[in-house]
């Protein structure tokens, strides 16, 4: 694309974005009716939100369910604005930060007509936190701070914690925490794997395996006046090119996960004012992991050289034009109160503002470690966006300090297998989370054995000590200080793992789709209740 065309595309995109913002500011009157068609890149293996981890479950299934609390749907870009869905008020903890008492809305009904009470909420969280024998609960470990869950009456649920935890409210707002019927769970704890029955804004209509899931508006929804749509159709479409063309050809209005910049530009060029683009930093990080059990990566100097060679600030600018990455940040999601400021970050290895100084230090460390012409192969996922594109960029960056790196691309299963078997010198992985909850999200970087995702094969009791102290703190300032120590230890002092870039979420959608607001995760704000269709544009 030449410069002039690029400018036109960017102008159109910005114009579309401004138009959308302007329209939102004018507080448009929502319109009722219509079926929203959207494409989903994958199909969920089952219907059970407590069991699965894929976003492919959230997009077609979340609209059928209520949750206890959630990120504010009017402000989903916020990282800390949690509001009630089924409760009446987000409680302040008592008992030294260890007890949370939620009051449940009255008059809420499941789609089968049965009333939803505190007993259902209790049964739901028991199903997640204390699953019965044979029941898989994917996020059980995230709730390790919970000691007990009780419901003294039909309107009250009490969570008692083992210790105060800043991670508790965010983890409660996880979008997978669908509230299930106690009666159904008592009947069969695995009933929800193959069935859908919630109390959300849409009622399950049908699933055609491999093709689509459809839902109809819940006329008895407890948030009065919602949903605006008559229904939705979630269409499974694996190929990205087809999903882009589906939006272009109006077979779908939106894909909620995200497209690369090129697809955005193509759609804007083809559809002009008929397309609106929303963009956001994405709670997915691309992570570089040296295998500490392999020489010379057992030497911290070599590991530090790897990160010092990368010009993240320059790369952020260049790569964001072609790949779904943008922010150069630390381990904590950019902009979160617990994260480092840019000034603090610029003191960490790999983030120095003077890249030449940084590379000189990398060369010095390699020389000192006896590997001035280091050569290695790094394991990457054979997926263009953003893995292989960023991988290619890193090869070029490392070359500038005399490192010769080769990329070994493997399909997802082989990539996982290689990482798990420790069959790599350096590995590229991803840390993708739903709700932004840094206290839990950074658990990814804990030593091998303590973290299921840590592929670096190392022990670090000091790091565990920092983490264990941090998660038991109630005070944000103290948490922030410990988090900075944690980040410095992981990325600089011990150089266990490096955040390469944070992903960037780009959602071009048909302009007739209104009411949808982008969030930092493709898992969030997906109940579709506030969306409407306005074709009279």
């Amino acid at each position: 694309m030449n410069g002039r065309r690029t400018r036109s595309v960017v102008c159109l995109a910005l114009g579309a974005l401004l138009a959308a913002t302007g329209a939102a500011n004018a507080k448009e009157e929502p319109k009722r009716g219509g079926i929203l068609k959207f494409v989903v890149p994958d199909e969920p293996p089952s219907f059970d939100g407590h069991r699965e981890t894929t976003f492919a479950l959230i997009h077609p299934i979340a609209p059928f369910y209520s949750v206890l609390i959630r990120i504010n749907p009017d402000n989903p870009a916020s990282l800390t604005d949690f509001v009630c869905d089924l409760c009446t008020e987000v409680p302040k903890p008592v008992d030294g930060g260890k007890t949370y008492t939620f009051k449940i809305r009255k008059g809420v009904k499941f789609h089968d007509g049965s009333p939803l009470t505190a007993k259902d909420v209790e049964a739901t969280f028991r199903h997640i936190v204390f699953p019965a024998e044979g029941v898989l609960s994917a996020r059980k470990a995230q709730f390790s701070m919970i000691e007990s869950i009780t419901s003294p009456d039909d309107e009250t649920v009490v969570f008692k914690l083992k210790h105060p935890s800043g991670a508790f409210i965010p983890v409660l707002a996880n979008p997978y925490n669908f509230v299930y019927s106690k009666a159904k769970l008592d009947q069969d704890p695995r009933w929800y794997e193959a069935n859908v029955m919630g109390s959300g804004p849409f009622v399950f209509d049908k699933r055609e395996a491999g093709a689509r899931v459809t839902g109809k508006a819940n006329k008895n929804y407890y948030h009065k006046g919602l949903p605006y749509l008559d229904g939705f159709e979630a269409i499974f479409a694996k190929k990205q090119s087809l999903r882009v063309q589906a939006i272009r050809g109006d077979q779908a209005a939106i894909e909620f996960r995200g497209f690369p910049p090129k697809s955005r530009d193509d759609l804007v060029r083809a559809l002009g004012k008929d397309i609106t683009v929303q963009e956001s930093d994405w709670n997915c990080g691309l992570v570089l992991t040296p295998n500490h059990s392999r020489k010379p990566f057992d030497d911290v100097r070599v590991r530090r050289a790897l990160t010092l060679a990368l010009d993240r600030w320059g790369g952020s600018h260049d790569l964001s034009k072609i790949a779904i990455v943008k922010a150069a940040g630390g381990l904590v999601f950019p902009g979160h109160p617990l994260g480092m400021t840019k000034e603090e970050l610029q003191k960490v290895a790999g983030y120095w503002p003077d890249i030449e100084k940084s590379r000189a230090e990398a060369r010095r460390l390699l020389q000192e470690a006896g590997h001035p012409n280091l050569s290695f192969t790094f394991l990457n996922r054979a997926t263009d966006q953003p893995y292989t594109i960023v991988g290619t960029w890193m090869i070029d960056q490392w070359k500038k300090v005399g490192i010769s790196a080769k990329m070994r691309n493997e399909a997802t299963a082989g990539w996982f297998a290689g990482l798990r078997a420790g069959d790599f010198d350096v590995g590229v992985t991803a840390n993708c989370q739903s709700i932004v909850n840094p206290l839990l999200d950074v658990a990814y970087y804990l030593p091998t054995g303590r973290s299921g995702q840590q592929m670096g094969v190392f022990k670090d009791p000091e790091l565990e000590k920092i983490y264990d102290s941090m998660i038991k703190l109630g005070d944000v300032a103290e948490q922030k200080a410990l988090m900075a120590r944690f980040e410095r230890r992981v990325m600089d002092e011990e150089a266990h793992n490096f955040q390469i870039f944070w992903w960037y979420r780009i959602i071009p959608h048909r302009s007739y789709l209104k009411g949808w607001k982008i969030s930092p995760s493709h898992y969030l704000n997906q109940d579709l209740s506030g969306l409407w269709i306005d074709r009279d544009l």
């Binding site: 479409a237 109006d250 083809a270």
Partner: protein, 324 residues
Amino acid sequence: MAKYVIKRLLLMIPTLFGAAILVFLLMRAIPGDICYLRMAGGGASVDLDVVRQCRVDLGLDRPLWVQFWDFISGFLVGDFGKSMWTGQPIFHEVALRFELSLQIAIMATAVSILIAIPLGTISAVKQDTWVDYAVRTFSIAGIAVPSFWLGILIILGILITSKAWFGQSWMPPITYRPIWVDPWYNLSMLIWPALATGYRYSAVATRMTRSAVLEVLREDYVRTARAKGVFETLVIRRHALRNALLPVITVIGIEFAFLMGGLVVTEQVFNLNGIGKLFVESVENHDYNMTQSLVMLVVAIFALMNFLVDIFYAWLDPRIRYVR
């Protein structure tokens, strides 16, 4: 003849058994783990205990020979088990997609025949003229151009043309409705992949038709017919083409079997929820049960088609069954 048929039927057993062993071992040789893929495929954090429990649930912790026995004994009694990915019965998952795959196979075969037989015949009759060269170029292009690429071009072409002509971009539907429910919708979705695939397969059949017709045109009975003053069109239609069609039909029949399970890429391009797409997804997901069942299904279809062709030849030419 009965002895010959039984013999051919019995020969199918070692073929199927060999395929079963091969697919069972190959699937397990591919690096990767369905549970890890399912729980952490999107980059999500996962508790290793959950992965371990998932493996136990799916029976992957059992010895290989036990897993093989389960597979083969189930296959013998027609019980394919459940998909490891969705937990749904495999028979149900395959049946859902079979209708679409069958319709596409029929439509693509029809397109292939409609292109191949007239073009192949014209090419033979006009041998070494510009018409012949044009047809041969057209058919070689069909072999050279991947059908998925042609599919993408077709979709883009429709989008651009519809925008230019009607002011709105239109593309074929991406969800399926059976032909008896909504014929127009159904055809507007399936005609494009049928054209893309049919053209690809017509290329082989066109060349086969050309060669067969050329061979027959040199036969004595054709020369005799011409000498008797029979019209050239009748010579071609009644004498040449009819006799040349036998090998062409064989090729088309085998292609049809391939289309039933082989449209892996075209189905992805057009978002067709058929057997080919299911195949790709089950391999990607390391769904051993589904992949094994689909491979066995395709092997069974091929074995059956080969069996039918053998029987057909034996019926046409008795020397074949006597020699064996």
